[in-house]
């Protein structure tokens, strides 16, 4: 799975299958802090994610 973490401008690749909730937990985020974009579309956290998906993690928290 390709994951782009927008805030840190970081690209990571790893094997993962599971829900958005599980992915967020694996990346040590809190569901109040981030959004999961799957192949360009915002998805709810119960969405199944597979190794073929391209994921973007958007941070909600910002200053001002």
């Amino acid at each position: 799975m390709k994951v782009f973490i927008e805030k840190q401008n970081k690209k990571v690749k790893f094997v993962f299958e599971g829900t958005g909730t599980a992915l967020i937990k694996k990346l040590k985020y809190n569901s109040e802090e981030v959004l999961v974009i799957k192949n360009g579309e915002l998805v709810s956290l119960d969405e199944k994610l597979t190794n073929k998906d391209t994921i973007k993690i958007i941070s909600i928290i910002s200053g001002g």
Partner: protein
């Protein structure tokens, strides 16, 4: 997961809504807050205090959609690598949506850019906030209300921060609107019951293209601490943030703020002491005699 109102796929978990119903939910929530807390009258002239971030942009857009008489006021503090980009964005956004945008700068109004003030070791956010509040009030005299983009997360954090610091006076001053006080334009917060996450999603779905630059001085570690703890609580017990606000509003003393006010002899703005905070800081900085 499907939308709880139709057969479309949900894009958000709680409440589970599809795109169309989520957008509606956000607009309805703002509308209900305005109605329930009597934030606006149809005839009101509203000034939206805009930073160019997702919250104030969402607020501006929704008030305009609801056909209120809105204008926008932005403060240019003079912060390099931050404010120029957000101001350029604001100009484009307001032009596109036919909203009048007024910009007032620290440089012209206060006498110095924030960058320069900070260079001599002054605390950025305290000074910035004081000057901003003062300018906001000064330039909204001919409006009925100032609307700000504070959301449910900001407000729940503020309640907790003030409790933790035992700042009773600030605690009393929160809520969806400030009381009417002579010399102050009333402030309202139509996004009071919308979570930061919901506003973020709204601004993405609406393609607002809000710039994500952050103020280089934003380092409120106490707020960040409260925010993280609150986010943890919210995931363990959904609804915690909203409950904090509902309980706060319930407990809020009905007693009106009886603070006696006078007016600053130097600038004419209302103040609680001999001269206003803004002029006091300008004096210490040597910007006025």
């Amino acid at each position: 997961m499907n939308c709880k109102l139709c057969t479309q796929k949900a894009i958000i978990d709680s409440p589970s809504y599809c795109k169309k119903h989520f957008l509606k939910y956000v607009e309805q929530t703002a509308k209900q807050t305005i109605k329930k807390y009597d934030l606006l009258k149809r005839s009101d002239k509203v000034c939206v205090a805009v930073s160019g971030g997702k919250d104030s942009i969402t607020l501006l857009y929704i008030l305009k959609q609801l056909k209120y008489d809105v204008e926008a006021l932005a403060i240019d503090e003079g912060i390099k690598n931050y404010r120029d980009e957000t101001l350029a964005f604001l100009k484009r956004f307001c032009k596109k949506h036919k909203i009048k945008l007024i910009i007032k700068s620290f440089e012209k109004e206060v006498g110095k850019r924030l960058d320069k003030i900070v260079k001599t070791g002054n605390p950025a956010c305290t000074i910035c906030g004081t000057f901003r509040r003062s300018l906001l009030n000064k330039y909204t005299k001919n409006y009925d209300k100032i609307a700000t983009g504070h959301n449910l997360d900001d407000e729940a954090q503020a309640v907790l921060m003030n409790l933790l610091k035992a700042q009773k006076s600030l605690y009393d001053r929160q809520g969806p609107k400030t009381g009417k006080r002579k010399g102050f334009t009333q402030k309202i917060k139509p996004l009071y019951f919308l979570k930061e996450k919901e506003i973020m999603i709204y601004s993405i779905l609406m393609n607002f293209d809000v710039p994500f630059t952050e103020c280089p001085y934003a380092k409120d570690s106490f707020r960040a601490y409260v925010r993280d703890e609150l986010n943890l609580l919210e995931t363990q017990k959904p609804g915690t943030k909203k409950n904090i606000l509902l309980k706060y509003l319930k407990n809020k003393s009905a007693e009106k703020n009886k603070l006696e006010l006078s007016f600053c002899p130097l600038c004419g703005e209302p103040c609680a002491e001999e001269i206003c905070n803004s002029c006091r800081i300008r004096k210490t900085l040597g910007l006025i005699a």
